[in-house]
Symmetry: C2
Subunit: 394 residues, 2 copies
């Protein structure tokens, strides 16, 4: 078979382990005599359009190991949805560079971008194998049992809530913590992993999957205050009322990216609004709100070991699948082997399965009261996150 | 000498290592035949007033070791400034329990509370040795070269900024990170420890010690965007204009504690306001703001080793000094030994030196341009924080 060059790039929101996938793909590609140049495009497809590449074959093993362990997207990222003109420019660039393989690491929007590139290539008759490598802290790809990036972000959230619950224990009152997750509440649900003792927070967990009402919130908090004398709330940034419109989006700037997503992270507006509601309607004196923000996806030194290992393996698997050539446009599904001991399996699947549409927290993970998670969720999430730092209380 | 009982308590904002000081004091007290009961009052002086104690002599070594490594105040905290009536109630309680030693772990307000108790005891003729054990993430005690709690919070801030700078590198635009520190900018200054390469963020650092102007801010950010193509700003929650009034306090709820401190943490209002300024006045499309909030003092697993060790030693030292009896009301000063290798020294000092008044970031630590720190600050802070997780970039 003819030797071809490959391009790999990163897209969408960074994660703590997206560089593991990059380095996994590079490591696998280096093993194959059928891959020539290994080019990393900077800032996703923008780097392809602008001819801005890192020669990944030239990087030392030491450098690549350091990159793998580094949070955020080392090649840079973008949120660009390619149109037909972009695609033509991409193929022109690929033709000049003799590129036969294209790997795009990202979430559902990035999978959709890769799908568009792959379909346009077919239309144009440009021979290209395209693989999406899954990444999203939101854990909302329909193709995966769980996604690389989730375990580490969930670990940050669980640690943060654990510490914050200890802080709330010391000074009392209500603490509201706003957690990432535009449409899916998996990351907010992971706050429950912080609990060890019965009275540990979070005492209330609000997901976008359950319609949120101010009155219900006030009632829940009052009940928790009565029971525990304090209350820690884990609130998804994507909570929405019965009208389905995210409350945070109503408070925010209305800014949208090219995939149509409204900006919700990077502002403390939702937490502050909820704190005001409690002060006014529940007459609680000490109410504080923090928004965990970008630290959830970028804080160094907190990555889950399982997540790091799987993200690397997903990158390797994509390159192996592309070389095998069964699918011209694929994604890597991460599945969970049945059995008592946790084990992940990786399988190439048609790219459409990861693209565009997302999945929500399933019903069996949401407690009946609508403000907690079930034991089934804890069982699902614990192996992805790993053991948290031990703490003691009197 | 007569055997007396002791009471120890924690007050003010928690830190990641305040329990090290508690356990250090307990460990030292257990060694002395002159100390009988070792009682931990829950929620500071409120526990004394309410008779709510933990018997610290009964705790296992394993339990105490776990508590020491746990963030937040394991005994609970309060922000109560004792008045004469409180003090009379305290002495009545102490008399019944035969308490001769009182240790109060906290910041300047807690030192002041301990000073009040000590002075009222003298007036009443109640024989009591009172020691304040320093703790504050703000690093603003005039009696100390640096305070227990600061190194760990600074470590969190430096790690957070390091990760967030990598995130900003990937997606561009301006990122504003609001950092704790009501009056002193030490913690915000510590963001500079995140830098390795010349173009690493934070690119701008705003401390409460330098008057803040919106126009200057817009100008600085525009210049940084021109130079780096992106900009990470570390902003103290306590920044204030020429009128001396904190900008965050103007935006906030106006809530005050019994020491007269305005609430500034636990809200994203300042970051959001600064983001709006940049969007409107500098016409920058992507501006995000995060407020690090309570994670800075409570996140488990991030404590600085030096800080942990010194916090423990400060607790030990207070008990030793109290038993020695040179001062009837003291605090523990943490000094830095001269010489190339970092070394801390501990010394008992009159309690008034830690009480009430705070210190600011000294001039030699602030860069001439007013939005950065000097090499002298980096040299000062680095040993307190320790090495950060290694990261790699292309």
């Amino acid at each position: 078979m003819k030797k071809m060059n490959m391009v790999v790039a990163q897209s969408g929101g960074p994660s703590m382990v997206i560089n593991q996938s990059l380095v996994g793909a590079v490591a696998e590609a280096r093993k194959s005599p059928r891959i020539g140049k290994i080019l990393g495009a900077r800032h996703g497809i923008l780097g392809i359009l602008g001819g801005d590449y890192v020669d990944l074959r030239k990087q030392s093993a030491k450098k690549l190991a350091a990159i793998a362990a580094t949070p955020s997207s080392a090649l840079g990222s973008c949120r660009r949805k390619p149109d037909a003109a972009d695609c033509r420019a991409i193929f022109e660039a690929f033709r000049k560079l003799d590129v036969g393989y294209f790997f795009y690491i990202g979430g559902n929007d990035s999978a959709d971008a890769a799908r568009i590139v792959a379909e346009e290539a077919e239309k144009e008759g440009y021979p290209l194998t395209v693989y999406h490598i899954p990444k999203t802290i939101d854990n909302d790809l329909r193709s995966c049992d769980h996604t690389p990036g989730f375990g580490s972000a969930a670990r940050f959230v669980a640690c943060a809530i654990k510490g914050d619950d200890l802080d709330n224990r010391a000074l009392g009152g209500v603490k509201i913590d706003v957690i990432m997750g535009r449409d899916a509440g998996f990351l907010t649900a992971a706050s429950a992993l912080a609990r060890v003792r019965e009275d540990d927070g979070p005492h209330l967990i609000y997901l976008p999957e359950v319609p949120f009402s101010e009155d219900g919130f006030v009632r829940d908090v009052k009940a928790a205050m009565k029971k525990y004398g304090r209350c820690v709330c884990a609130v998804s940034e994507g909570i929405r009322g019965r009208d389905g419109v995210p409350i945070g989006a109503k408070l925010g700037s209305g800014e949208r990216d090219s995939h149509g997503n409204v900006q919700m992270s990077g502002t403390g507006a939702l937490g502050d609004a909820l704190a005001r509601v409690l002060k006014e309607k529940a007459k609680i004196a000490r109410v504080r709100a923090d928004t965990f923000g970008y630290l959830q996806r970028s804080f160094p030194g907190v990555a889950s070991e399982t997540d790091s290992r799987e993200a690397f393996a997903a990158g390797q698997c994509a390159v192996r699948a592309a070389l095998k050539g069964e699918l011209s446009k694929g994604t890597i599904a991460i599945l969970r082997a049945k059995g008592r001991k946790y084990q992940a399996a990786f399988a190439p699947r048609p790219i459409a399965e990861a693209a565009k549409y997302t999945r929500s927290v399933p019903k069996e993970f949401i407690a009946r009261n609508g403000h907690d998670v079930t034991g089934a969720f804890i069982e699902y999430a614990r192996p992805l996150v790993g053991a948290l730092p031990a703490t003691g209380t009197f």
